[in-house]
Symmetry: D3
Subunit: 236 residues, 6 copies
């Protein structure tokens, strides 16, 4: 993704992006049920690189499997492009881990922009302190072999009931994670920046005692005038 | 509600209130599954003002709906009486938002005593920092139009499987939220203050090494004597 | 349990223990769905002492029940051996409490090593501040009588879908809780200490830029040499 | 509703109607999770008349309540217009009944076209034999007072996560129940009749060995010719 | 239990019994979520004999376990008293079986009055044809060892969220199963017979066109007169 | 698969197969939560041919999509080999259909051995009458486009939490469906035939009054002798 779009997406909320996608008829792009392992105070932004898990069959998922250099979970960590977000389809099951602190540390060192699973991470308290945004549903200590077999890399997947295609732009904030279809990323980023400016103006107005009726959304002309003045004054 | 009752309810826990209602045969007054968006270090107390959501039908829930000045969600925010708690029946679904930071800010400015939904708020990280108690099940960024249509104001509703009638007294602490039927509020507040005094005494006793048998609940006379002395000593 | 094993288990993670049990064919020993009420920054370790709840029948669960000195919940708190972890089978239902702050305070004063329920605690915000590790699924203010009847002490139970036998060794960290069958505790503790040393080495290597392939798990000889040097250097 | 539309809707499937509504952007009109209490071998068709339940508060829901002649559940049964379908919002909870055989018999005698709840019926085995279509999630013997308070008649409601407005046209077959917005009923009925003719033709073709590619949906001209011949031959 | 009570309970519905218990303040005696494996066209009635399952630990649950003559599942089948209902607490989990056709056949031959699990049976299609009432949540082919360890016989248990004490009277019909506390069985049976007579009268009246208002429940004197005549005429 | 193995698997139950796989350490091969749309009175047996669904993104899932001749759902139906079982990963979501009667009819005509989804079928009442075994969780009328996008053919998938690899042997009976890893099919079929003979013998013995202790499983020699005589007498 281009740097300008990334910068724009660093400054807007997932809520604002969800509304921008809703306008375009896309209602299910928020990854449901995940939250930050540790709050980072900044957005996670990057194209999706995916890993798909299937239910683990016991004979294929002994500890020796990890000794294979081509194990898909390990390969995903080692090949996720710099700046990308690794998104894992764990079938919304957190009874076994999707990954642990060693793998996420490696992803961080390799320049990964973040990681999302609709399952859970082991070593979550450690991952929370790493300098990489991570999102999951809850901590889960059992090794992924217990229930998850990593089976495919960079396929279209579901994650938290949202559709994720490789290359879609993934944005996370302190609340949620959203998936922006790749071809919409730029226009949605632009629109979200505009919306954010107006929302920031609205918050100021509301804190000053203004009613939301006619202001949010704006249906009264007086607010347009005030907003334009505010933009100039605030360089927005 | 009268100020004295409010003051009493500011100083007792939801757990104590739940027991007082249990004594009266009311077992389902705690709103299940909600927690504070951000801890406030003080109770939320106020009469219930309600908003009911139904599943959103797409043709009735486009963004243009918000331009209607009579949209029930907006009207609820603008008409919730000062000192009241806005309680939202979101059918226990948090896949779309019940409200966001702008509306909750407006509610705060208007003097709302708090807000509860059995769904989720968008902009939750912002709401957590506002000076108004808010309770939900989890952050949820999609606009409420995605799944929730605000349909009715101040009807009897369910919230987190608890029955809520307009005017019932809603109390929230750092753990939970409870709904006290309006006609019981005073007597329950009184009883809870008494119970709290005894519980505070008990905690001191237990920390000092006392067994709970005979003490909690009190069945041995010795503890009555000690408690009476403690009340005097502590002005309770 | 012997002190040496306890000390070892204080220094390893539940994730590492889960892998050690997985090697032995035990896949379901993590108590699913519970988390610390308040993080303690240290492990919880101790043999399991159990309490089993069943659904409450209203005529058997009035407040007067607590006046019985042989009420199993009260007896469990008063008889749980020093150094043991009280594990409660609440049938994974948190709509009523498993216990509250007074009982947990008493357990703490009596020397309990910790407490786990697959339901919820009332007064959870207070329990979070106590100097005893406690794990649950969510705060729950209603008295246990509302839905839970304490029926049996120190039976084999299920907790969060894990099997728990009295005397099994229970270990909790900031993420999860695991149950180690009593006869395996020593050997698993030993193995986990070894595994932890290697994992700590691996984290350092990964932070220094090393790939995980061949390192974790170790399949390349070079890492063995490096690890042995690291152990000497770090006294591990 | 007019008789012609009713007749058309008696002859089409809920699946076909769901597709017709999907074309119009309505994706959530099927009442999720309900099935026929007993199969009737014919469709249920009629405008919705609604009843809303809320969680039961014990003091308001003793058996004596039913003695009130204005109890909303009783009133709903006695005032549901002939030819209408009574749709009950039981908040998707089947742990207590929505109604039993006596009330459903009365509804039948009064000419009700059917009844739907997203909870459960008591006396379900009896209701299955009545000559009125009924849909629920599962049998549930406890009286509705146990968990459901009938609170409002003919409001907009949710039922099985579908939006239901009084007067919407409700259609049920052996699989599912769907809610057609009132203003769309005629055009959707017309379209569904057309679709059904083509689908019946397709089934014959497929049974005769035809591939679905190009046939369903029709993209090849040869099938149009064949279909037109089939319509003439079959008087459709 | 005495034969007279059994006979009475053979002729009333679980719905009627649920109402009789509701009058006495017991709201949770219906075993939630279970249904007949095969309809028998007659009630299941008998005192509860219980079996409790816990989560299976793999090393304790190999196939060789069944070779032990004291395996609790086998012992329960062989010691359940004639005329009793075997009630199994499977923790509401049907991913592995509670029992299969061979054991249920044995229970039938031994004179068991029925069997209930809040899990599932394997060989369910065969069990459906046996001459013994059986209730479960769904068919489940995996051997119970996969997830359930039979751990205790004739303890108080939960089954489908209902409390079950050994000796409680269990009644099942084509809809549901209910648990009557032993000490209430006779009076509840008597009352249910009376209620059933009135309900049968009501059904006739309603089918003849009578409104339910004033009739069900009876608040108008005219219906009392009619009912008394009906009883005489019908020998009830 | 060879015809001999298929014949053997036609005559054994899923329960017996589940035990044979359990002996080999495979505990999760039963597809959880599915049942026959209509009972066929015979087993479904065939190698798995898979279709994977992901969450539907609205812009990619308009009705026009079905006009594409390469739409994966249509292609799967047209390319599933004769004698194979089409297994669909619908992410355990039945709020939209996995397929309908036209497609399943086509699959039947093409010689498909059966079809399984962990979602639901539309036109289920029609599919129930077709001469092809079909398994699902519940009827679901909305077109699959509403929530499911068919994305990939013949990949390893999860179905009802069981792992399914293309070519695995899928067996369904009136209760459940199981997935036998391809390399085990022959030996498991052989073993299951043997087990079935013994179980049939046991049922006869139990019906004749024999205790299960020592008989099932067989630990007493007398039963071996009797079984051998029975085999001769019955030609098994």
């Amino acid at each position: 993704m281009n740097e300008e779009t990334r910068d724009k997406l660093m400054g807007v909320s997932v809520a604002t992006l969800a509304t921008a996608l809703f306008k375009r008829g896309l209602r299910n792009q928020v990854i449901q049920g995940v939250h930050p392992v540790g709050r980072k105070g900044r957005n996670m932004v990057g194209p999706a690189f995916t890993l798909r898990y299937m239910p683990a069959r016991e004979d294929r998922n002994q500890l020796t499997e990890f000794r294979r250099e081509d194990h898909p979970q390990r390969v995903a960590i080692e090949t996720c492009p710099e700046g990308s977000v690794l998104v894992m389809d764990s079938r919304k099951q957190a009874n076994a881990a999707s990954a642990g602190d060693i793998l996420i540390t490696r992803l961080m060192v390799r320049g990964g922009a973040g990681v999302v699973t609709d399952g859970g991470f082991r070593d979550a308290a450690v991952i929370a302190e790493l300098d990489i945004p991570a999102y999951h549903t809850r901590p889960s200590s059992p090794t992924n072999l217990t229930n998850n077999e990593a089976i495919a890399i960079n396929e279209p997947i579901g994650c938290g009931d949202a559709p994720v295609f490789p290359g879609d732009i993934v944005v996370g904030d302190d609340d949620c994670v959203i998936v922006i279809p790749a071809h919409l990323a730029e226009e949605v980023a632009d629109e979200a920046v505009e919306m954010t400016a107006y929302e920031d103006f609205v918050v100021e107005q509301v804190k000053a005692g203004q009613s939301i009726i006619g202001l949010y959304p704006r249906t009264r002309d007086e607010h347009l005038t005030a907003f334009e003045a505010w933009r100039k004054a605030n360089g927005r």
